[in-house]
């Protein structure tokens, strides 16, 4: 992308972001009065006034955001903002833009995720695991950052650089995989809480609400257990588990290589040195034990023959 394109394109993505953020908060705001009105109908007056104050604060905040966002999205203001940034060196701008693109991509996915919050929770179902967020980040990383780490290093320390870059690369990959795995592990908790909420709502409607907190806990733990069982057998989980373990192990191996490089300058044995010794030691010990067994058998055979002869 040349300089002109960048100047023309920039206001669009910035305005897009402003607009999508405003849309998000507006849609969120629309859901609030309905839910709050349910609460305030059956609540005490003090509770209603508390919710009223919350509502007022919420509306004020939204108004401020709307004002500022509409002002920011006007072409003149945007031009002013971007005018200053044009002074930055082009490389810095490119980096900023790349990072921003990645962030924006993620941001769009999160928005979709937020949009799903109000949806009904189906028990024991893990379709659409919001993996797109991690997939998006992984794609962005592979496309924009990984090639930089894989660029061929030069000079005397080229192999050291290569190993260091590999460790950084694997570290980043393991972090993404681990984040995705942990997110996955948290899903049953999130889902079970939503399901239990619905079950309690049903009980409230039927007037069968229990007075004992333990009943709710037992209900929740059973739902949670069921959710975990479903998740753990799902192909998505197994795939992510395998990937997380593999990438983490690869990172450990890459880190070990860097450590070995560093330790070579010190008078200490590295894991590689020790493992080589252990392997030799293991082989020798096995051979000695086998020989000792054979020797014992031979010895007893000779003793037997000798006793036969003497008899």
């Amino acid at each position: 992308m040349d300089h002109d394109d960048k100047e023309k394109g920039s206001p669009d993505w910035f305005a897009d972001w402003i607009k999508s953020t405003a849309d998000l908060w507006l849609s969120a705001a629309k859901t609030r009065p309905a839910s709050d009105s349910n609460v305030s109908e059956g609540s005490q007056p003090s509770s209603a006034s508390y919710h009223g104050k919350l509502e007022e604060g919420w509306q004020a905040l939204l108004k401020t955001w709307q004002t500022s966002s509409s002002a920011l999205s006007s072409p003149q203001i945007l031009e002013l903002i971007l005018k200053g940034s044009n002074a930055l060196p082009e490389s810095a701008m490119r980096m900023t833009r790349t990072t921003w693109d990645g962030y924006f991509q993620l941001y769009q996915m999160w928005l979709k995720g937020v949009g799903k919050l109000g949806e009904e929770a189906k028990a024991y179902s893990f379709e659409g695991l919001e993996a797109d967020t991690f997939k998006g980040w992984a794609e962005f990383y592979e496309k924009e950052i990984q090639p930089l780490l894989k660029a061929p290093p030069l000079g005397l320390t080229r192999f050291n650089q290569e190993r260091a870059n590999e460790a950084i690369d694997k570290f980043n990959q393991s972090q993404v995989a681990m984040a995705e795995f942990l997110h996955l592990l948290g899903l049953p908790v999130e889902k079970s809480l939503r399901v239990i909420q619905e079950k309690i709502d049903e009980q409230v409607k039927e007037g069968k609400l229990s007075e004992n907190f333990k009943d709710y806990y037992n209900m929740w733990i059973k739902i949670l257990e069921g959710h975990y069982m479903t998740l753990f057998k799902s192909p998505e989980y197994i795939k992510i588990l395998g990937r997380t373990v593999n990438v983490t192990e690869e990172y450990k191996a890459a880190r070990e290589k860097v450590l070995t490089d560093m330790l070579q300058f010190l008078p200490v044995a590295t894991n590689r040195d020790v493992d080589e010794l252990y392997k030799e030691f293991y082989g020798l010990k096995k051979t000695v034990k086998e020989l000792a067994k054979k020797f014992e058998k031979l010895e007893s055979l000779t003793a037997r023959e000798a006793s036969h002869e003497s008899a």
Binding site: N212, L241, E249, K297, E299
Partner: protein, 399 residues
């Protein structure tokens, strides 16, 4: 909109009542937790009669007159420790077997370190286990001994019995996997998804904590939340706390598993299912289950999620022996050894089964036994017996 009727007064009254109870509960809990607690495990008196590297052989002092002449060697898994079989007095498989008049030995695999990373299944089966079997055979001047394997230890015993049938009189497997071609049990599914070579190459040994994490993840709702909720609910009950802590001690006492064992067990057993097909090879020799011609008692738990019945049952139909028996107990993987109900069932059944097959066999032993290390005494010896003294002398003479 119809508003639900919530009996706030009842809920508040219940809360007030609960607060009162909680105060008493906390005071009692403090007394229990800060007072003396007996949480010792593996306390049945024994001596160490054989040592090789990190591996030790425990011999338990008799608690009754010997009713089964052939000694029984128990082989535990390399995952976790054998102490679960002797968790507490009154709830101990070891104690119950001794009371049934069984002369009992148990292998303690110890704690593998980085130097043990190259030890594979063969080193354990044809190495340590074979040496120990030889030691016990010569100590008792018996050509054959009884073998009892637990979990992975049962798989080892199956392999051993197929390779050395002339040394095994009766084989007992408990919750021991032999058929891995099933999707029942999460471990089966997960083990197929991970790269065992990568783990073995990078970690050396499989870290015990990693394995424990894996086991906790099998049911996080129960094992990481509900279990501790139960604990805090009963924390004012001294006996409950003592039992709970004993179990915690056992669960989190997890030695690392030698890298090669883990690699072979996952690749050859979980992924290729070689054992049940008699295609597994150790030291170039095929582990042919048809060679298992001695009586086989195969015990497993119906609700075992780690080694489900599908992994255990097929063994008896694949061995060469005609005297086989499957015994399914209504319990889980650990319940078979620790639940009060199973305690009454397991040891008497094993003792009865062994007694029925305990023909006396004697053989002149020309070959010398495997060398025993200098004997070390461990464990309490509150119940010495003349018989034990005699055995200690015998062991000493071989060391």
């Amino acid at each position: 909109m119809n508003q639900p009727k919530i009996s706030v007064d009842l809920i508040l009254a219940k809360m007030a009542e609960d607060v009162g109870k909680s105060q008493k509960h906390i005071l009692k809990s403090k007394e229990v937790l800060l007072g003396p607690l007996d949480t010792k495990i593996a306390s049945t008196p024994h001596e160490i009669v054989y040592e090789e590297d990190r591996v030790k052989l425990k011999h338990y002092f008799p608690l009754a007159e010997t009713r089964v002449k052939t000694p029984l060697l128990m082989v535990y898994a390399l995952i976790n420790r054998e102490t679960v079989l002797d968790l507490q007095p009154g709830k101990s498989v070891v104690e119950n077997l001794l009371k049934e008049g069984i002369d009992l030995y148990m292998i303690d695999w110890g704690y593998p370190t980085r130097k043990d990373r190259y030890q594979g299944i063969d080193d354990h089966v044809n190495g340590y286990l074979d040496n120990i079997v030889d030691f016990v055979r010569h100590r008792h001047e018996a050509p054959k001994i009884n073998l009892m394997g637990i979990c992975m230890g049962g798989s080892f015993c199956t392999m051993y019995s197929a390779l050395h049938p002339e040394k095994v009189k009766n084989l007992i497997t408990t919750v021991s996997p032999s058929n891995f071609d099933t999707d029942k049990g999460l471990l089966n599914i997960w083990a197929k998804a991970i790269d065992a070579d990568l783990i073995a190459d990078t970690h050396g040994n499989m870290p015990g904590d990693m394995l424990n994490m894996c086991f906790l993840l099998l049911n996080p709702a129960r094992l990481m939340i509900d279990k501790y909720v139960g604990y805090f609910e009963n924390v004012d009950d001294r006996m409950f706390v003592e039992n709970f802590i004993r179990m915690e001690k056992w669960i989190f006492d997890s030695p690392d598993v030698p890298g090669e064992v883990m690699r072979e067990f996952i690749n050859d057993c979980y992924k290729k299912n070689l054992l049940i097909q008699s295609k597994m090879e150790l030291r170039g020799k095929r582990v042919d289950l048809q060679n298992i011609t001695m009586p086989v008692l195969n015990i497993y738990g119906r609700f075992d999620h780690l080694v489900p019945p599908e992994m255990c049952e097929p063994l008896t139909s694949r061995v060469g022996s005609k005297d086989t028996e499957n015994m399914c107990i209504e319990t889980g993987h650990i319940g078979i050894y620790v639940s009060s109900k199973c305690q009454k069932e397991l040891a008497p059944k094993i003792a009865r089964w062994l007694k029925e097959r305990d023909g006396v066999e004697r053989k002149d032993f020309a070959a010398r036994p495997a060398k025993a290390e200098p004997k070390k005494e461990t464990g309490p010896k509150s119940r010495p017996s003349p018989k034990r003294t005699q055995k200690v002398v015998a062991a000493g003479s071989r060391s």
